[in-house]
Chain length 243, copies 2
DNA sequence: TTCCAACCAATGTGATCACATTGTTGCTAA
DNA sequence: TTAGCAACAATGTGATCACATTGGTTGGAA
């Protein structure tokens, strides 16, 4: 089940194929197959998720044939998936036409965190005025689920719920311009998050969500914006401390 | 030279094919063919440019076969190009698998402007510390060329130079995270810019570049950030006033 | 031993075709 | 007249193959 490039060519070690095969070791609910209308979408969801949770090591080279074989697809939908992920910043297309995951550096990490703060502060400011009591209830519910995931030390579930929390909030704005960009940043931060979760013992990033919810209930946009920044910086500090 | 969908299916009128054919009426230097190593890249550059300068009307449906015929290519590279542009926000993939240019609304325009301000302010702040005297000279030179383009009422050239000015500045930061996102916003603003240029008689957005250059020379990051915002808002106001 | 060129394997690219899906038209029957 | 269905046209999707490019290996000459 090899899907990375020939190691002789890419000089990177093989990756355990667990993220390309169905996700047994990740305790992940299999996505219902009916949601994937096309093979390309299926391949995209699989690869995107793998990258999002840091399942593909930085600098690894992906090959079209390799991924196609791993997913039992032909090369056409896989090629489109890889290009799409390149356009989203999740992968990087080298000049020699090889597609790799972006290398990981601290400078790049800082750049990504700054961008994430700028975009998410903007998003929360522009979404706050649309929020209803019902929305607050939904967000509170997600936050409670996150508490459970922390207790269970379920990292994958925590990452998913955290992103669900943020994107649910930002998506209250009917004109969605920055959410795709925020998701692009999340994708690029995937390897860093993974590193943080692997090396850090504790998972403690729920407090700022409580602050954020309090601010949103008071319709205090400024406090909400500050809580978003604090939440992001907390998570980033955790990743840095883990190194 | 039809490249839009069958009007019966898309209920949009045909577009003059001038932006898909070589750009005679746009007074554009033909891009040297050597720069396009692959057919996909060629198709991408062509379509991207057409969208960037507002050459494709909002809501128009593009078909794979249509674009492929117009560019004398097979469908494979065109399909990848269309998906890539969808991922960049320049196009929108409907649920019925039809690919259209995003519709134009004032709410969306405001959202794009806000995002542009947030991203470009961040970019200039993080690029300013890297600037050298040589860079300042290059930027001043581009600004002078813009003055010429304004005198010549050459809208296309002005758009290109304006983006060149901004991206040259932001690219001084070696870790490039937000420049692709900024370019995505530019792509999405293409139709609006076009509208502004068509309906507005005057082209007056160079003053803020002078302010920005002054601030950069003084290494005054805060003033530079404000000049960037003023520049963007000026251009946006022009587009709004044109409606 | 070192270097280079020829060769081979791995991989990306693009064209083409068959098929699935979607949209339109027009005819039939209530 | 109009709802509904059948036929057809337009388009998207995916598999496959030939070819180009790239990376690595090997063997011989300096």
């Amino acid at each position: 089940m090899k899907y990375l490039a020939n190691p002789r060519l890419s000089n990177f070690t093989h990756l355990q194929a667990m993220l390309i095969k169905p996700y047994p070791s990740w305790e992940l609910p299999e996505l219902p197959h009916a949601t994937h209308t096309t093979a390309q979408e299926y391949a995209y969801e699989r690869l995107r998720f793998a990258i999002m949770v840091g399942g593909v090591p930085p600098g690894a080279a992906l090959t079209i044939r390799g991924v196609a074989d791993a997913l039992s697809l032909s090369s056409t939908p896989v090629r489109e998936t890889l290009r799409r992920l390149c356009a989203e910043g999740a992968l990087f297309s080298q000049s020699n036409r090889r597609i790799i995951t972006p290398p990981m550096t601290t400078a790049r990490h800082q750049e990504l965190i700054s961008t994430r703060v700028a975009l998410e502060q903007l998003a929360v400011r522009r979404a706050a005025r649309f929020i209803t009591e019902n929305d607050l209830e939904i967000l509170t519910n997600i936050d409670l689920q996150m508490d459970q995931a922390i207790v269970q030390q379920n990292y994958i579930q925590l990452v998913i719920l955290n992103q669900q929390f943020h994107s649910t909030l930002y998506a209250l704005n009917p004109e969605q311009v920055c959410l795709p960009m925020i998701e692009s940043v999340w994708l690029q931060l995937g390897p860093f998050n993974r590193l943080a979760a692997e090396r850090a013992g504790q998972l403690t990033l729920e407090d700022q969500h409580k602050n954020l919810l309090t601010a949103l209930r008071k319709r205090d946009t400024e406090a909400a914006s500050q809580a978003v920044e604090a939440d992001i910086r907390d998570a980033a500090d955790q990743a840095s401390a883990a190194q």
